[in-house]
Amino acid sequence: MTTRRDGSWRERGAVLSRLLAALLGGYAVSALLAAVLALHLPMERSEAVLVGTMLSFLVYALAVMWAFAARHALRAWTGLLVPALLLAAVLAAPGWTA
């Protein structure tokens, strides 16, 4: 149901790739952000968990938009994986837990 001119398999594959980037990449970024904020926000732990969790859904929505706004599918992936790796690094860094 893609358009007539652009309905090639390459186009469809790219859309699918973006969709996966949006759903999986977006989830990875937002879940990691929730975890990092839960551990590192300067407030009581249970409070930090709530703030991080509440913010993560907004980030997820923006990540989905990014996945389809990026100039091409590869860029969509890198734009999500780089922040995800950074967040994962913060999460894994030793001696950083508040």
Binding site: E11, R18, S30, L37, V49, S56, F57, V64, A69, R71
Partner: protein, 517 residues
Amino acid sequence: MKQGFRQSMAWLHTWGGLLCTWLLFAVFFAGSLSFYREELTLWMQPELHQAQRGGDDGLAAALAVLQQRAPQARSWTIALPGPRDPVIEARWNHGKFDRKAVVVLDPATGRALEPRETVGGSFFRNFHFSLMLKRTGYWIVGMATLMMLVALITGVVIHKKIFKDFFTFRPGKSKPRAWLDVHNATGVMALPFLLTITYSGLLTLAYVYMPAGMIAGGIDSERFLSEISPRQEPPEARSGKPATLTALAPLLEQARRHWQGAAPGSVTIHHPGDIAAVIDVARRRGTGITARIEPVMRFDGVTGRLIAAQEQSAPGAVTYGAMYGLHVAWFAEPFLRGLLFVMGAMGCLVIASGAVVWGAKRREQHGATHAAVGYRAAESLNVAGIAGMAVATAVLLWANRLLPAELAERALAERQWFFGAWLLCLPHALLRPRVAAWREQLWLAAILLALLPFAVRFSGGLSLPQALLQGRGAVAGVELAALAFAALLAWAGYRIASVKPALPRARPARPLPEAAA
């Protein structure tokens, strides 16, 4: 061709929205009805229609029932009557949850009532967030809700003239244009509500969708909701020494004073009849905007001495409680509740009109005559998903009245009628021509709803005139709403029959975002 940000957002809005249309419509439809969950439940239990508040609100009778039925229970819970719930409920607990361990009483007379088994208004609430598929359903609804949030944000992005379009309505213009105006006007008008309800909806099940923060923070996500509520320590073990329970009424009065006049909603008595008995009095939900964090007062069950008054005041928990509260709207007084229902209905209209715009635009591009099979299928899903939902709801309400009150597995049978009717709407929509399918399903729902006030003949309970005369707003309201919706659906069916098909017109299709790369 260089593709702009707005164009790719328009693509995402269109196709992402379309993918979730029918699901989102069902979620918004059932969610809107859930604003009247308690009224629907009462209507669906004609045996409770006559119940009335008065005297001690049945407190003594409830205690007598519990003493007689479950003297050895681990705990008793009494749900007090409130403005939307005219009965008092006495539950007991022997350690694990038992749906049948409850007696419903008429507060004024203390008489035990025997309401029929029914899915009640809770059906719509549960369907709304689980599709009756448990955890799988949570995730399906969650993905659709995320898409709704994305559709709202992208909708704002692609909308250059958001204020101008607010005042634009061109019913005389070609159909996609008029439907687009409906889509835009309702979307803009209801935008604050839609954003709030969508975002808060995601948060109500945050512990399912996004447990990462809770795992990192060492909070058991399965127990998340009780973690944020002002939880009392579990009471000490039963001592085995018998003692008489203190009078409840003074404790309720003390709690009411402590909460500056806000009414208690439930009383839980741990270890009744034991010297270690403890009484928890919880404030009625919906006293403020927040939900899930109602304050609790704990008393000694024998002396009546106050042990602790717990309140949740941590800002994050209160914010979460407020988000949750905004979603479930337990706080809403009748006028605000009505407004929320209208907003929910507008949400349905935004979603439905979006689907219609899509269909009309495709017909305009390709011409009505050689519409592809895919478009035809999507249009049939529109009919079954939108008009079929109204048919299924009307059938459920009728099943509630017609199925014998003593039927075993009665609630299950009601559900089967709902889903059976809904399922039948799909082949009907596929087999009939597009306009005829819309009209027939809308009119069927209209007829069923218009006749609903007569269904009281088969079930007992208050008839519409009786309910009006006795001022039973909940019972009368459900039937008046049914009549209003019958009129609305009949009008919609009539309008759909009278519109002419749009002329086919060539227009370049919107390219995929990839086309620019």
